[in-house]
Symmetry: C2
Subunit: 457 residues, 2 copies
């Protein structure tokens, strides 16, 4: 494996998965261990997610309570973790959790049913680590507190570079990932931070206080993970200290966890926008249920549209050709609305909108609406004129309706996410079914009223 240039990484993973499944089905424990000796825990976890439940159980019993099993467990999805944990006997589960880093252990414990959770915490070998896990459980998983590892490399303010290095040499096995050295006072309040590299490049006697940076970015444990990710990304940090209200260091969030958050958040936003948030790992039935729920907005909108069109039935009977343009008015409005809403949602998520102000963003969208509306009103108007040569008023109705519908779509599409954001909801839920349905309805009402007025019906 050490020779692989991972240009074919996906192919290699697929091969690993296929081979692993075959060995598990043959129940070849020795074969599984031989294969996995060359496979990283991350890849085993991913392959495992794609096995059936009975294959997962069989593989898990082969892995037992080894360090490798503990590593794999740290990379499994919450759902698989919970199912396996409930399946294992308690002794093995405790043994595995004992082998994990406290932040990973906390994720496993958090996935357990409450009664089992308490029993496991009581049985953990190391009282201190059980204490740490208990304290980490206090923070929701999507906050800085939920992401942080409680183990930071902390030294008192009198420390010199040389002393810091020898401390590091004594304690390194306990510290998951050391990127920075935090200098704290007697109360564990952070005074400053030094990079590991700066320790190395100064004489041993240099006091850390003379080289540390005091301009330190830090967050409270309640900080939302999206903001944590934004700070780490913006300031190119490797780790972000989490402090309590008195400025005492509680733990650090490291960049590898933030990378996962950024991937997950963007993913979540995109799925939310399409009305498929959180459905990915679930069964076909659960997935349909969730997606179906979301589509109720579309159904309700569609029925409302049918009722509205019903009101204009006489108009339609007189000028049946109007029905043909319902789809284009709806389609253009809906898609323009989605464009505006997507720009608004991403602008809010990446902080682009806030700086210029929501008003400025919406004004800009309105201008785009006028331009796009004008463009498509002309194109569709020309088409209608050519298609129905003797009927300039039909062309005029269609043309002015599409103009108004597009303008309304840009304004509504950008306004709805702003309103949701102001109200504390996730703006991503505004897009997809919701915006299109609303814009569709408005488009239809505009269309028939304009047509009736112009055609004198």
């Amino acid at each position: 494996m050490s020779e692989t240039i991972p240009e074919h990484d996906a192919a290699r993973q697929k091969r690993t998965y296929t081979l692993l499944r075959r060995l598990v089905r043959k129940d070849s424990r020795a074969g599984v261990w031989r294969l996995l000796s060359g496979v990283r825990a991350e890849d085993t976890a991913e392959a495992m997610e794609h096995l059936t439940w009975s294959e997962q159980r069989s593989l898990w019993s082969t892995l037992g309570d080894t360090d490798y099993a503990a590593d794999v467990l740290g990379f499994l999805s919450e759902r698989t973790t919970r199912m396996l944990a409930e399946e294992m006997n308690e002794e093995d589960l405790v043994e595995i959790i004992d082998r994990m880093e406290p932040d990973d252990a906390t994720d496993v414990v958090a996935s357990l049913p409450l009664t089992l959770r308490e029993r496991v915490l009581d049985e953990l070998r190391d009282d201190e680590s059980s204490e740490v896990v208990r304290s980490l459980l206090n923070w929701p998983a999507d906050t800085a507190g939920g992401l942080m590892s409680p183990r930071a490399f902390v030294v008192p303010q009198q420390t010199t570079c040389g002393q810091a290095i020898s401390r590091l040499q004594q304690h390194h096995s306990e510290l998951e990932s050391i990127y920075y050295v935090y200098v704290v006072d007697a109360e564990r309040r952070i005074l400053g931070v030094c990079s590991l590299r700066s320790l190395l490049t100064r004489p041993a006697k240099t006091p850390l206080t003379s080289l540390m940076s005091r301009d330190l970015i830090r967050v409270p444990p309640t900080e939302d993970q999206e903001e944590v990710a934004r700070l780490v990304a913006r300031y190119d940090l490797l780790a972000l200290p989490v402090v309590d209200a008195e400025g005492r260091l509680l733990g650090v969030v490291t960049v590898d966890d933030v990378v996962d958050v950024i991937r997950d958040e963007a993913d979540e936003d995109m799925l939310l926008m399409a009305g498929v948030g959180g459905v990915d790992a679930s069964s076909v039935f659960t997935q349909s249920w969730h997606r179906g729920g979301w589509l109720l907005a579309t159904l309700a909108g569609g029925i409302l549209a049918a009722e509205i069109i019903g009101v204009y039935e006489d108009t339609l009977k007189t000028v049946a050709v109007l029905a043909g343009f319902i789809p284009v008015i709806m389609g253009m409005g809906g898609n323009v609305g989605i464009q505006s809403a997507t720009l608004a949602v991403r602008g809010l998520a990446l902080g682009r909108v806030q700086l210029g102000g929501p008003g400025r963003f919406m004004a800009r969208e309105a201008q785009v609406g006028v331009l796009l509306g004008g463009l498509y009103a002309s194109l569709l108007g020309c088409y209608a004129l050519i298609r129905f040569p003797g009927e300039p008023l039909i062309a005029a109705s269609i043309s002015s309706s599409i103009f108004l519908a597009i303008c309304a779509a840009t304004v509504l599409g950008s306004a709805i996410p702003m309103v949701l954001d102001r109200g504390g909801a996730d703006p991503a839920i505004a897009t997809g079914p919701f915006v299109t349905t609303l814009v569709d309805l408005i488009g239809i009402v505009i269309y028939f009223n304009v047509a009736r007025t112009l055609l004198g019906l």
Copy 2:
């Protein structure tokens, strides 16, 4: 600033921006410098992006060719960078580029028009860095080669821990971010890697070859940035070495660049899906032009829909009530199609689809289609029965059309991204206008044919 817990980070940025703009408008150079002495270059760059062009120019002339200006330039958008670079006199531009890290310098040089680019490269003070920038320009910006920094910390294989540390102490100022020490042979081929931490925690005489890890993930310079991001995220790497075909080290991609890539890629995918890819920083007019181009698909689809509905004009004249259900058939089909396409696009981007195979994904979607179709066929059928009591055949037409349209939407919505991916295109372009339009048309054809058959028209 050192005391700020950045809970109010967004508010602080907004204040900085407002103050900066006021000082720039008053042309208070001393005021600007006083303000910026407490502001990070990242924040100044962001604030600058929101100034008008004349404000930007004025601020830029205040910053001059200082280190601070070089820092800010590294964080500006490509567009602003290019505009400022073309505006500056060549001497200042060269002076600033000389102050930048080679990978940032390359981005600036790459944004220049070709003739200016050559002149700037010729004038760079340091021939070696001009050479480095030239070699980095060979790689497209969205590949490992385009992301990498050529400066890696490399030692020959006989090196001991102590020797590595003293080398580090001599060269540290040149090395942007050192996370790993790469052990290479005489040809600069990578043999293994040690973490900085592992150097510290061993006796000085330990040879690096005895502690280095040989199981090394590496990529060729042509590797796509998305794959680079996937590897860094998956294996929690801080830096990923880039090697040529002979395994010689060309440079390293560091995690901070990968964090930006992950944010940008997810963002890009989401904007592409809504047909607003790449429009964000452009003027209202350019933006409308791009968005309008995308919407042509919708327009064409809409006109086609009008033509198709025109074919069934007689049917509509006989049963005008059918027109009312065009929106709900289109809306449900379109939204279900978007859901499937979104899951497919994200599944492909995160590698979820590939492992199980596209067939499995589509089969699952088809099952969801049958369930959702059944659910909504019943709901809409009941509504139609109640609304038009004497007309069971109308209800049956609507109900079976929605069932078929939803099934078609799940299959098409998931198939189109797979086909695009297989063909080497970005699957994200399949969603948005394209999928909805196609699914809409199919829905209408299904609807009228089912209705005509059942109603015997």
